[in-house]
Symmetry: C2
Subunit: 292 residues, 2 copies
């Protein structure tokens, strides 16, 4: 049975795109997720509190959770200051984002993609000297809401640059849900990531995961309940829902190590924390094995 | 470019599972859909008005629509009386449902699967004598909400019986969204339909379609806006949304003959008719080509 590694991103990527949730709720959610059997959790980000108030309490949340020794926790950082905070807090798995689209990178990070790549090159030795690893998430890898299609060669160039600079891992982000199975095949024919991060904005999230599995990728991000809306389309879905991904993978014979019932309970908690129905079919209808 | 044939089922399957919509709205929806380029529309069902009041005005709706000569319209019927009404109204493409699950068939049609198969055997010559064709939709082909998994051999037995009795076409219905790519492969390895009808209840709708396309099936039902909820799970999705299916297929290089912008307008109309947000990502976020 092939093992598929899920990284649960609801506490960071999910909650960062929702109205602020108190630290108590974040701690409860991370702890609930860490009891599902999931092996990796993106726990917090160390960003400027004025830029992203949702994550202002990252240090408090991280200090209060009950750490599960079987779970690897990671933190997202935007710059050197964030990396220093994450390392000081004891994180060894650090993530940083750069966008394949220059326009998106400027809107998101106020600098060109090339400037961000220079920043990342400077960041890598700092993380390595502290004993950490750096994952580079290439945002808008499957398309940009400002520029449209992104050439696979463009993504491949960024990957070559950050690998040469010493990046430990590469993820491709489908930032606004523009991937389809065709785009997955086109990009992976050109360059391969360690992990894929799909959004379900246009309904293709699970189809993209199935396609990527056929191509040999076995690491995916997902967010309990599909937590985290799409900032470009009010009311639209963002991240693929972890319980939809796990439900499908288990029925297809893949092992994730995750207890689906506990995961659904964690997604129910996520729904209570944000106070609105989350876009997850398995959360609404239950797994296919739940009979009337 | 491979042609994928979509049958639009929002006017019948969709509206039948919503609060009743006036005849004016049904006529407007069918006419809007018939201008999208879609080649087939499931327009109405001829059922007892006490059993399904949503379709009580089938004759009126059918008489008032503007028929597009490029569109094949079909009607669903439950029994001989319904078939007589459909044929009298001028339909030549008739559909009838039988459930692979005996329990589901009894709950839905108040008779065993075998009794329904006998009814269908009697129905086929009646339809043929009037110059019509009969499609048999095998419901719960990928699982039953009462019985659980349905053996592919069970579905194959039903297909063999109705083909021997003269059925013109076979469809497999994923009545409550229990299909996954694994179930699609398992069933299609045993027996092949002309058309597949998937629900997106647990998020796997498009993944199932991609899998079926890889196996050579090129006819699918879909419902504008994802109209038609899941009767077994309040708030859950039912039919796959036509615009999500078409959006993905076009990006993958398939031809459907459908104008996606017109289809989204028809889905917006469907949303206004039922007065609630429909579960369609492409309806919310627009196609991936719509830039900020």
């Amino acid at each position: 049975m092939t093992f598929v590694s899920i990284r649960e991103v609801a506490p960071r990527d999910g909650l960062q795109n929702e109205d602020p949730v108190p630290a108590d709720g974040k701690v409860e959610l991370i702890d609930a997720l860490s009891r599902t059997g999931v092996r990796r959790i993106e726990a917090v980000s160390f960003v400027h509190p004025k830029a992203i108030p949702q994550m202002a309490d990252a240090d408090e949340v991280w200090s209060r959770i009950t750490r599960n020794p079987d779970v690897r926790y990671s933190a997202l950082i935007p710059n050197t200051r964030g990396a220093q905070r994450a390392l000081a807090a004891g994180f060894s798995e650090i993530e940083v984002v750069v966008s394949a689209s220059d326009t998106h990178n400027r809107r998101n990070l106020n600098r060109s993609t090339d400037e961000s790549l220079d920043d990342i090159a400077a960041l890598i030795p700092l993380v390595h000297e502290a004993g950490g690893t750096l994952e580079v998430i290439v945002a808008t890898s499957f398309g940009c809401p400002y520029e449209g299609d992104i050439a696979p060669e463009r993504v491949a160039g960024i990957v070559a640059r950050v690998r040469a600079d010493g990046a430990d891992r590469i993820a491709f982000g489908d930032t606004t849900g523009m991937a389809t199975p065709r785009r997955v095949r086109d990009l992976l024919a050109e360059v391969r990531p360690d992990l894929l991060h799909f959004h379900n904005t246009r309904g293709t999230g699970l189809a993209n995961i199935v396609t990527a599995l056929e191509l040999g990728v076995t690491e995916f991000d997902a967010s309990a309940g599909g937590l985290g809306g799409c900032p470009y389309a009010p009311g639209a879905s963002g991240n693929v829902a972890t319980e939809e991904v796990v439900h499908m993978l288990h029925d297809m014979g893949f092992d994730t190590g995750i207890d689906l019932d506990r995961l659904i309970e964690a997604a129910e908690l996520a729904e209570r924390l944000v106070g609105r129905p989350l876009p997850s079919g398995v959360l609404r209808a239950g797994p296919r094995t739940r009979l009337v």
